[in-house]
């Protein structure tokens, strides 16, 4: 008999149906992956069934767990199951744990919620769990708070909480999405090992098919609240039957191949030399963020800047855009240096300013919420040109068209647009003054795959049609390999490797690059399959 059996599950939230007629099963000691994009309802189904969505959620259908129907179970019964028979791992390590309670107590609480145990036993068990999930020096760290741990470590604590009472089933909802690639790989490995050691069933929810393919035996594909396909993972991935699955399985874009003839000569547009920047923490302490950076961007070239969080890539992109100053070194635009070093505030020649524009990472924060799209897109013209009103309006219309948005969006406010639409407006704004270089800081990280694909195509067409250079900052190697002519790998503030993308990725020279490439999920499973 399967451990978890979901039959015709439907969920309505605030009288809007979000999940329709979903069915799947999970067998003991097996792993089920649920994939879908955001809004597909993949998380909602299980959260609703276990009572974690609150009173606003109306659930119908059946969810049999070990014989009991969770949908009709009393809240009390559900509470006894949660944390004891079913463990949970959630997505965001920065907000999953109570910031004010030491982690030892947070884990201990999971134990005492279901068993009467004395303090010593609880303490012993907590240390055991921390050891098991790979937290070094567990005994000393019991009284530390979540803020003292890195993202990966916090996720391990979360896993320890999930595992505390040896549950039969663990539900992991996007457990590695918010983590860097290298950390992601280690967490997935941990989950696999724990599952083998404890023999528990695992449901892994993710938008990332590669991640799911690492661990899952069976997979369910969801879209708009419905299941479109399900089956053993090998079959679904190698021979998908539904068109949506086919679409999901397609990579974001084809990797750039080595060129047939000689590589095009590109005159220099922006040159960064010996750039160093640090942040002052106190009067004595000075933390270096960027160290001796040398980077060149040619006209019409797309350069990728790859690094994990904390590598300094955002700082570098801000300096190149003229929003921050460096401590030492120069950044020149067509031969003229424009970033003052050692000063407190950036002073940039207006001509250069217009030529270097930025697309920010956060589509929500980069548009003024109280201004209409018309005003947001008119701003570049009002600030840097003398064009009269009607002409500005015309140009705004052209801009919207060039990013594929309908003209009547001018009257909308940012809050009425989706993340992808907002990002397109941000790109349109960056293009308004026909810049020579666009610095894009993680422009597609927060977006769905389909939208991301469109944005990437849009960016590529910018270079192809207008000759605009692009500095593409990202942690996603797949996108970088598809879009960028050259790539620079940034690690702890230092560029460890630089060169043509196809060459660097095919045969990386530096250890760190190799680690990054190896950490891409799906690569290890392929190895086991091939071996």
């Amino acid at each position: 008999m399967p451990l978890l059996q979901v039959e015709n599950l439907g969920v309505s939230f605030r009288s809007t149906p979000v999940v329709h007629d979903v069915s799947f099963t999970v067998d003991k000691a097996r792993t089920l992956g649920i994939v879908g994009e955001s809004g597909s309802g993949k998380s909602m189904s299980l959260l609703a069934a276990t009572g974690l969505l609150g009173p606003g959620a109306v659930v119908n259908g059946r969810t049999l767990f070990d014989g009991t129907d969770l949908v009709t179970a009393s809240p009390r019964h559900l509470r006894s199951i949660r944390g004891r028979d079913i463990g949970f791992v959630f997505q965001d390590p920065s907000s999953n744990l109570h910031p004010l309670v030491p982690i030892g107590r947070q884990i201990g609480e999971a134990l005492t919620a279901h068993h009467r145990l004395d303090r010593k036993t609880v303490r012993r068990r907590v240390i055991e769990l921390l050891d098991e999930v790979g937290i070094p020096r567990a005994q000393e760290r019991l009284d530390d708070h979540p803020v003292h741990f890195s993202g990966g470590m916090r996720q391990r604590v979360m896993i320890a909480i999930a595992l505390a009472n040896n549950p039969q089933l663990v539900i992991a909802d996007e457990p590695t999405t918010a983590l860097d690639a290298t950390v992601q790989a280690s967490i997935l490995a941990l989950l696999r090992r724990l599952q083998q050691d404890h023999g528990m069933a695992l449901v892994l929810v993710s938008h990332d098919l590669a991640v799911v393919s690492e661990l899952a035996d069976d997979v369910v594909v969801m879209r708009s609240g419905r299941v479109v396909e399900s089956g053993p993972v090998d079959r679904v991935y190698n021979a998908p039957t539904h068109s949506y699955t086919v679409e999901l399985l397609e990579p974001l874009a084809q990797p750039v191949a080595a060129p047939a003839g000689p590589r095009p000569e590109r005159p220099e547009l922006v040159r960064i030399e010996n750039l160093t920047k640090g942040f002052r923490i106190s009067r004595k302490e000075h933390r270096p963020v960027l160290w001796d950076i040398d980077l060149r961007i040619g006209e019409g070239e797309i350069v990728g800047l790859v690094g994990e969080s904390g590598s300094g890539k955002s700082t570098l992109s801000r300096i190149v855009t003229g929003l921050d100053v460096a401590d030492t070194g120069t950044v020149s635009f067509r031969g003229t240096s424009y970033v003052a070093s050692g000063k407190r505030r950036p002073v940039v020649d207006p001509q250069v300013r217009r030529s270097i524009q930025m697309v920010f990472q956060d589509p929500y924060g980069s548009l003024n919420p109280r201004r209409k799209i018309a005003q947001i897109l008119a701003a570049p013209f009002e600030l840097s040109t003398d064009l009269p009103g009607p002409q500005i309006r015309r140009r705004v219309g052209e801009l919207l068209e060039s990013v594929g948005l309908p003209g009547d969006f001018v009257d909308r406010y940012p809050v009425q647009l989706s993340g992808g639409q907002r990002q397109r407006v941000a790109i349109a704004r960056a293009l308004a003054l026909d810049p020579a270089l666009v610095v894009a800081d993680e422009p597609v990280s927060a977006l769905d795959k389909t939208t991301a694909r469109q944005i990437v195509e849009l960016l590529r067409s910018l270079r192809d049609e207008r000759g605009t250079s692009l500095l593409f900052v990202s942690h996603d190697l797949g996108v970088v390999s598809a879009l960028c002519d050259r790539v620079a790998v940034l690690h702890d503030g230092v560029i460890v490797e630089q060169g043509y993308t196809d060459e660097v990725f095919a045969d990386p020279a530096h250890d760190y690059t190799r680690t990054l490439l190896g950490a891409v999920p799906g690569s290890t499973r392929k190895e086991t399959v091939d071996a």
Binding site: I81, G83, F88, N96, P99
Partner: protein, 329 residues
Amino acid sequence: MLRHVTHLITRSVTTLVLVLLAAFVLTRIAYRDPATMLAPRNASQEGIEAVARALRLDDPWYLQLKHYLFRGPDIQGAPMGLMNWPPALGYSFRQNTPVTELILSKVPVTASLALGALVIWMTLSLVLGVETARREGSAVDHGLSGLAYVALSLPTFLTGMLLSYFLFFTLSTHGLYLFPSSGYVPLSENPFEWARHLLLPWLTLAIAEIGIFQRVVRGSMLEVLGTDYIRTARAKGLSERVVHYRHALKAALNPVITLGGLELAVIMGGAIVTETIFGLDGVGRLAVNAALEGDFPVVIGTTVFTAAVFVACSFAVDLITRWREPARI
């Protein structure tokens, strides 16, 4: 941490100094002819001038300030300015006692009033706030929050009068002398009477504060209840009571503490209205009477006292808030 504390102390001391200077200048400008106000009724011109001389009221203000700071009133020949030890806040023109002594004698009353009210309003606001947040949108929520609204809309003097009317006057006409109408009994003398006399004033203050704090607690709780870590708490299988009172409330307390410190300081500085209605001889009444009579050393003294209390409370709130946060490495 140490650097922060030093920074706080510097700021607090600067504030106090500024307050002192400002109060001094203010009273000096405001009371144009204090000698006439302070001299006995039918004093002759020489009498008034004698008063002015004795109190050095004819000196320019900076000399008066210097005198205030360093020399002070001559009490048996010993210098008693603010800069000496013990610091003296001058000498009341009217009552012929050192201001410090005057203020200190009133502090127990005001402190009893403030702290007692604080305990009452905090406990009730926390419970009301958590329970209304828990039942957001329900009839109970609307009802209780509405009541808090009403409490918020009642000025203190009105609440005090209404309470006095209903719980003292009406009851006493029926022969039930549950609450006294006025007066203060020191704690050391008779704890029961102390509480009995303070009950109505406590309620007066507490009702107004509950109106404010219930909303703050509820708002803060609602914000916290939407976070991921509360979902984790539920995922552990904890009861709703534990989730709300142990996890959520803990995270929601910061704005409550900050505001609580502020309000406490304001009340300590003189809940003048409450003291007036219930006949409590506290710092507030002392200050108001002094201001009405032109006794400006007392005015300056109470102002500095109030500022000192405010500064101390803010300092305490800052330290408490920092202490609650996990220490950064």
